[in-house]
């Protein structure tokens, strides 16, 4: 039954006008784990020397802005851009992780990395970044909106401030930054915008209520923006990864909630970042890294939303029950020795 639906979904997707440009084999194509090695600091001299020198490190080189690029997927994306010779402006909240990312990227690749410590959820952040870019008149080619807040807590147990912060960071910062940097991107066309949403944006997930709601807004925003900016030669892409193991908590959470299936769907941030940038430069609209994630996302998009919500809901309840049982067992275990 499930397989039939998957095949139907894939066939249907490949026949309809918008997706017809991608042959069905592309949708089924398995992207082998990335084979480029990630040069450590010791190999930097070699990699820098081999790079074609088109004035990479001075201000006339091409620039990319990565919002939320100091850790996780954002760092993976920064690294993929640096490997392609882009100078970077990385924005994140904490200066220490920024400095670390800067040091790592500058030693490994022959590019300039500028950092800006700012909380993107605040009103002034977009304006500040816009000002930085225009005052230096950089050749901005790529904008990546990666910053986002997920977390294992769901809507009902989140404090109001976190909800506000989530809307601000996940939805508003992405739109505001795109809006502010639009003139610069237009001037340096052809250019690229990469928004990072999630597979959670394809269908409602009750246990990640706010996260999936905000990410669905990012997915819609990317679809619309793609067509709005088509004439200006700015390509818009949207990265919708499944589980990505960026933090130990996420590994735990995914295993608990999605089990073995989630574990085999999960990817590491390097692979995701590299794949995302590769497809962004190929002007792909929706980027889903990983074979299993691609198949599941086709199914999710094809099935009625209510079914998906129910499936996710029952998964979540099972996970909750399991967690409760585990906590009870632990409490009982703690009691008996004493």
């Amino acid at each position: 039954m499930k397989h039939c639906l998957m095949i139907c979904a894939l066939l249907l997707l490949s026949f309809l006008p918008g997706t017809a440009r991608q042959p069905a084999s592309r949708l089924l194509h398995y992207d082998a784990p990335f084979t480029l090695e990630f040069p450590g600091p010791e190999s930097c001299g070699v990699s820098a020397g081999q790079r074609d020198s088109t004035g990479l490190s001075d201000s006339t080189g091409s620039w990319a802005v990565v919002a939320g690029g100091s850790k996780g997927i954002g760092y993976g994306i920064s690294e993929a851009l640096a490997r392609r010779g882009y100078n970077l402006l990385i924005i994140a909240r904490h200066t220490d992780t920024l400095l670390k990312a800067k040091a790592q990227l500058e030693t490994a690749y022959h590019v300039r990395v500028e950092i800006l410590a700012a909380d993107l959820a605040y009103d002034s952040a977009a304006a500040k970044i816009g000002q930085w870019c225009t005052s230096r008149n950089i050749r901005l080619k790529v904008l990546c909106n990666v910053a986002g807040l997920g977390g294992a807590n769901d809507y009902l147990s989140l404090p109001l401030d976190s909800l506000r912060y989530m809307v601000r960071l996940n939805v508003e910062s992405c739109m505001a930054l795109s809006l502010t940097l639009l003139p610069l991107l237009e001037k340096n066309a052809p250019s690229y915008i990469l928004n990072v949403a999630s597979m959670a944006g394809f269908a409602p997930i009750p246990i990640k209520n706010m996260y999936s709601a905000t990410k669905s807004a990012v997915v819609f925003f990317s679809y619309s923006l793609r067509y709005q900016l088509e004439d200006k030669n700015i390509s818009v892409s949207c990265l919708c990864p499944g589980p990505v193991y960026t933090k130990p908590e996420i590994v735990q959470d995914t295993r608990a909630k999605l089990g073995g299936f989630g574990n085999s769907m999960a990817l590491d941030p390097h692979t995701v970042g590299e794949y995302a940038i590769k497809k962004t430069f190929k002007k792909r609209l929706i980027i889903v890294p990983g074979f299993l994630a691609k198949v599941s996302s086709s199914v999710i998009r094809f099935l009625p939303r209510r079914w998906i919500t129910n499936i996710y809901g029952s998964k979540g309840k099972k996970a909750e029950k399991k967690a409760r049982k585990k906590a009870e067992a632990e409490a009982a275990g703690a009691k008996t020795p004493s």
Partner: protein
């Protein structure tokens, strides 16, 4: 002696919802921006249906507004049977033509305030179980409309949120509904714009605000999740949900006419 709270209940669809609730004997708490409109609505509802009503003038897009409203609401009543969110900002001036302030207002009003108010009023709703939440999205939430970029993005987030919240509150005796109307001629400007964009089809799709409000309240009380007024809209919505989003975005972009007129609030 059941109370209903309606955000954005002074005009348009919100007022129609208020009237439909008053007809069923609910006492009303109305919150909206314009105080004069609120007074008019209060007078109209009280004389026509003989119910009690309270009004609160507030701009829900401002920081801290939801807290103010929910606390004020708690001071008026201990339990709430119905919460309707009908405040929203649309208009033909959208993404590349906006400034960051307008963008922020739109996101706060369409998405953030709805989400915050739901959580803040949840204790009151739990006191009056079985109770109902009705959020207003739009048919624009079913597929991305490039010309109404931010509008359709925020509305789809609200739709997704409703699906999740319905699942989460199912066992608590609180039903969550999401109203997704097609074109509703609440103002002459909207009528003009819709007819220009959709022509004959727009006239067929349009449902008067009174009918939308009445239908929404009727279906909400029956616990329906997605509420779409008008048979043609219901039919179209199936088509929209079935087609790939990319094709729909392309269709909207290709056959939509360029925006001509200026901003308009709903």
């Amino acid at each position: 002696m059941d109370w209903a709270f309606i955000a954005g209940g002074s005009k348009g669809i919100g007022l129609a919802m208020a009237e439909a609730l008053a007809r069923r004997g609910f006492h009303l708490i109305l919150a909206a921006r314009n105080e004069e409109d609120l007074r008019k609505a209060k007078a109209l509802l009280e004389t026509r249906h003989g119910i009690q009503s309270e009004i609160c003038s507030v701009d829900l897009s401002l920081a801290g507004a939801t807290k103010k409203v929910s606390e004020w609401c708690k001071s008026k009543t201990g339990e709430l049977k119905v919460f309707c969110y009908a405040a929203g900002l649309g208009g033909s001036r959208d993404f590349p033509l906006l400034d960051t302030d307008a963008l922020q207002t739109m996101i706060s009003l369409n998405l953030q305030a709805a989400v915050l108010l739901c959580q803040e009023l949840l204790p009151l709703l739990k006191n009056a179980r079985p109770s109902h939440i009705l959020l207003t999205a739009s048919m624009a939430g079913f597929a991305p409309i490039p010309a109404k970029n931010v509008y359709s993005s925020t509305k789809t987030a609200l739709l997704t949120f409703s699906y999740s919240l319905n699942q989460q509150l199912k066992n608590d005796g609180i039903s969550v509904s999401c109203l997704c109307p097609g074109p509703v001629f609440t103002k002459p400007a909207i009528e003009k714009e819709t007819l220009r964009q959709l022509g004959w089809m727009g006239r067929q799709m349009a449902v008067p605000p009174d009918e939308v409000g009445e239908y929404a309240i009727k279906e909400m009380l029956r616990g329906k999740l997605v509420i779409i007024p008008g048979w043609l809209n219901r039919l179209l919505s199936h088509f929209l949900r079935f087609m790939p989003r990319r094709s729909l975005a392309w269709i909207y972009h290709r056959f939509g006419k360029p925006v001509q007129q200026d901003a308009d609030d709903t």
